[in-house]
Every structure is written in C-alpha cells, then in structure tokens.
Assembly symmetry: C2
Homo-oligomer: 337 residues x 2
C-alpha cells in the first residue's frame, strides 16, 4: 500500500514535506503542494487512519450496538444514525448482539480496542458488569433502553406516555375492557409501556381488572396465541393494544382468521409503524415512535459531545422524544353489548 514515504522517494522530498503538503501547511510552497498532490493522486495514496490515530488520539469510528438489525425499529435507527454521522465524517462500526450479553461484551471490548471515538448502544436485556466497566473507558450514550450504567446518558421515547395516550383514546371511544399484548416487562421499555396503560386506568379510577394483560415475547406467534386465548374469554375485551409491531401482526392475523371485524367488533392499536400497517385493510391505527428524529438528535448531540473538552462534559443527560398517535381505520366505538 502506498505511503507518504513512497511519494517522498518519488519526488525527492522528505516525508515531513509530503505530510505538510497534503495537510495544506502554509509553510509549503504552492508549487510543491501541487506536485505532491499530483503524485499522491497518481500513486493512489490513501492515508493510514491507524497511524494518524496513534499520534493524534481518537478515530473517526463510532460503535453502534443493536440487539437486532432486522427489526424495523433498530434498522431505522441504524439508517438515521449512519446518515447523521456520515455528514460529520464519522463511520459506524456495527455490532449486532442478538440480545446476548456475552456477544455484547466481546463487541464492546473490541470497540475499546479499536479506540472508537464513542459508542451508541441499545443495551441488551441483561447487560454484564464487565460491559459497564468497559464502557466507562469510552464516551457512550444509551438509546431506547436504559440500563443504569456508569454514566447516565440516555435518549429514549415516551413509552409510557404514548401508551397512556393510546389507552385514553380507546377509553374515550367508550371501551372499558381492553387487552394489552406485549413482550415481557423484563426490559425498561416494556415496563414503562405497561405502566402507561395502567396509568390511564388509574387516572380515571377505572378498575385494573378490566385490563387484560398478556405478556410473553415480542413475536407474531405470541400476538396470535394471545388473541386466540383472549377471544375464548366469555366477555372478552372490545379493544386491544399491542406493545410491538410483530405482536400487532399476529394479533390482526388471528382476528381475521376468527372473522372478527375490525373495527366493528374489535378496535386495534399497534405499537410501531412498519410499512404494512398503513397498507393493511383496514389500515391500522398505531403509535408511531419518533425513531428517526430520536436517532438523529442523539447522533448530533453525541458528536457534539465528542468534541467537548473533558472538563465541560455533563455527567447526566436524559432526553425523551414524543410518539405520535396515528389514527387510521382500525379503531372505533365498541359494539353495543
């Protein structure tokens, strides 16, 4: 691979001169600069980031840790983050953990080894202590999920508030018995969402017994099973709230198979707004989390932080972006009973 030394030899200058010419140092004459640039171009010179880094400090890499890239949610984050970072010259090193704490730890370790400028992560469900210790060595910020760590920097969405608003919408329409189908409350996000639903009931002094909660895994299969089970209840709920897009899919597939009319016999609100929610018949009313804007503002904030001198860094920062309740055709008044 071509180095500054090769250019130096070719032109008869010293390595220093080449380096200065390429970085536009004013001490080098225009004539020399032109010659150097031409030679660099001709030889196909590309500066060695590793060497540059060793001298100067940090790299232009930002580590991104996600549980799963095939999930719409996380893919949007990757997309938005990648764009924002690109604009400021940062590159993304990707880690997909599959929510496995071991993998997560290995990758964090490697990121520290690669001397990334910083790490943006959606923590796994059970983050290891070692991982937290490693993170301590690097600038980092948590996204969506919150695993209280060495530092307290977090960008999330209004899980609870969004759910509360969605529940209120259903209650306003006249529904009383509602089913909430979601993943387990092992994750902070899950807990907040469940609490949001309950909060809506509490604030209206409605009995929590009217709320049927089905918690398991964030899969379509679970959504389907939960709804099948729910439909078998004698006096079953008239509306359902989903805690994740996959669950939504299973739910509505189950409803259609059972020939339950949406929204005639059952109102549905999904969480997350993948493409198909809009194209489904009827189009599904959903809570749309502000993923893109969340990721973008997080990226900008983080890159700004990376340039801030150590002594002026805040040690704690929490930001929440607000979800949107997108009203489509899957919600309506409950049927007279």
């Amino acid at each position: 691979m071509v180095t500054t030394k090769d250019i130096a030899i070719k032109l008869g200058f010293s390595v220093s001169t080449i380096g200065r010419a390429l970085s536009g140092d004013p001490r080098i004459s225009e004539k020399t600069k032109l010659a150097v640039r031409a030679a660099a171009e001709e030889l196909g010179y590309v500066g060695n980031m590793a060497a540059r880094m060793m001298r100067g400090g940090s790299s232009n890499l930002i580590g991104l840790i996600l549980p799963d890239i095939q999930n719409d949610f996380f893919a949007s984050i990757a997309q938005a983050l990648s764009q924002s970072c690109d604009r400021q010259g940062y590159r993304i090193v990707l880690s997909i953990t599959g929510d496995d704490p071991e993998t997560e730890m290995r990758h964090i370790h490697d990121f520290v080894g690669a001397r990334v400028a910083g790490i943006i992560l959606v923590p796994s469900a059970d983050m290891k202590r070692e991982s937290i210790a490693l993170l301590r060595q690097v600038q980092h910020v948590q996204l969506l999920r919150y695993a209280s760590g060495p530092d307290d920097l977090w960008f999330g969405i209004d899980d609870g508030d969004a759910m509360e608003r969605a529940t209120n919408h259903l209650l306003d329409l006249g529904h009383r018995r509602i089913a909430y189908v979601a993943a387990s409350d092992r994750l902070s996000t899950g807990r907040r969402r469940l609490r949001g639903v309950q909060e809506a009931y509490r604030k209206r002094d409605l009995p929590l017994s009217d709320l049927s909660v089905f918690l398991d895994t964030p899969t379509a299969t679970w959504g389907e099973r939960a709804i099948n089970e729910m439909l078998s209840i004698a006096d079953h709920p008239t509306a359902i709230l989903s805690g994740s897009a996959h669950v939504t899919m299973g739910m509505i597939a189950s409803l259609r198979r059972a020939k339950v009319d949406i929204p005639g016999q059952m109102s549905v609100i999904g969480f997350g707004d993948p493409n198909w929610c809009e194209w489904w018949q009827p189009p599904i009313t959903v809570i749309r989390p502000p993923i893109q804007s969340l990721a973008t503002s997080c990226a900008l904030w983080f890159m700004d932080r990376l340039r801030t001198p150590e002594d002026r860094l805040v040690s704690s920062y929490h930001a929440t972006s607000s979800s949107e309740l997108v009203l489509r055709d899957s919600t309506g008044r409950p049927a007279r009973s």
Copy 2:
C-alpha cells in the same frame, strides 16, 4: 487509556516482557505471566488495535456496503454477515449509501484508509470509476448486484431462474396473461428477473404480448398504481408476479380495495418473503431468495480468502444460490372466462 507501558511501570518489567506475557510467549515464566495478567485485568487494559495493526498489517475490520439497511433484504444480509464474521473475530464497519455513488465512493475511500481487511458490497446502481479504482487496493467481493469491476468476485441469487420457475408455476396452473410489476431494469438483478419471466414464455412458445410488464420503482405506491392501471384493462391478466416485497404490498392492498379475490379472481406471487407475507390473509405465495445462506457462505468464503496468500488467490469466482418457491394460498387456477 492504559497501555502496556503502564503495566510495565507498575510491575517493574519492560514493555517487551508485558507484550510477550500477554501474548503467551513461551519464553516468559508462568509466574510473570500471571502477575502481568492480573495487573492488566486490574488496570482495565485493552490492547490498541491501531498500534497492533500498524506493525502487523491488516485489521480485523470488514467493510460492509449496503444501499439501504431498512430494506428487509439487506438487513438479513447484515445480520447473517455480522454473525459469521463475529465468529471468526472480524468486526463489521457499516456503510449505508442510499444508492448514492458519491457516498459510496467516500465510504470506500475511508475503508481503505482504515485499512479494513476486506470489503463486502452490494454496489450502487451507478458505481463510479474512482470507486472501482479504490476497491482495487483491497480484497473485496460483490453481493447480489454485479457491477463488473477490477475483479470478478460475486455471490448472487438465481434471480432469473427463480422468476422463470414462478412464471412456470402460474403457466402450469393455466394462466396465460400475466402481469409482472417491478422496479426498473437499471440494476443487473432487475434485468435478470425480467429476463427470467420472459424466458418462461419463450420456452413454451407463448406470445410475449400476453405478458404485461410494469416497471418503475420498488415501492408499494408503484405496486398499487400499477395494479390499478392493470385492472382497468378490459381483458386484464389473471395473475401477477412481483419483483420486490414493497411492490407486493402495494399490489395486494390495491387488489383488496378493488375487492378482487385472491386467488379466486387473481393469483399473486411475491418476490422476497418478509414476515407479513406469511401472516397476510390469504398467506402470499412468494419466491424466497436464500439471503441468509447466501450471506453466510459469502462471509465464510471471503474470510477464508483473506487468509489465503496473495499468489494463490483466484481472480474470478461466481456463485449463485437458489431461491425457493414457497407455495401458500395466493395462487390458484384462473377463473373460467
């Protein structure tokens, strides 16, 4: 950040000894090794990859260039690739180009600068010459799309063959007039798919005029528009083939709105098998490209290649994986006309 020097000072050894102890050199006594490892652990030492690399040669990074990570197709690739590479200690540096040749070039340049061990890419539609020149400096392999470059290393799917089989399936069912809705044939993949459909007609000596081709963009909106247009034809096709998952979605939404029964009045075969195809009512018959296995075998082959000495590298290698035609309930015999 902690370096070997810090450990050396703490223990009173030289840096060389520390380095040897950590890498398990047999010349260092067990006792010393233990002491060094303990100290490293205690101080939270993490080796500097950049320094290690400068000396030794290449890094443990593999550049991955994708047009779009939110696309199911590409997300699967990222997932599979990430897993395979992880197992062998490689990390993924991600580039999302948005199919923009400029961005693509910038990122390739940075990858070369970062001295990645290799690059795996799904080329953008109009790859720049400069990009190809840069790629020449690094080991690389193309995925899915094929932009004849400096070298001829490519892992793809059987676009044409898969389409031909799908078309044959419809022809076998008795359909004669078929609509093919897809993105433009600007990409090599698109061209191969279209040719596959046509090939099925040719081989049976059926007139290509029975085939209605709608080419534009790979979006749901286009799928919808195309189908609306198609339905307005007096003696319209009795079956439709989609060239991409987004198009499939638009198509079936349009059909449902027009109250066209699937498969009673219209058979549908989608291309690509995102989750919802299985959950839709009726479940959609699709061509399922072997994305995961493609990515995995590509990753394994590529990492093996990275370890092969220069003089034993083959300069050309093409591999194609076969798609699966997943029969579900959206295809049937045409209605008597």
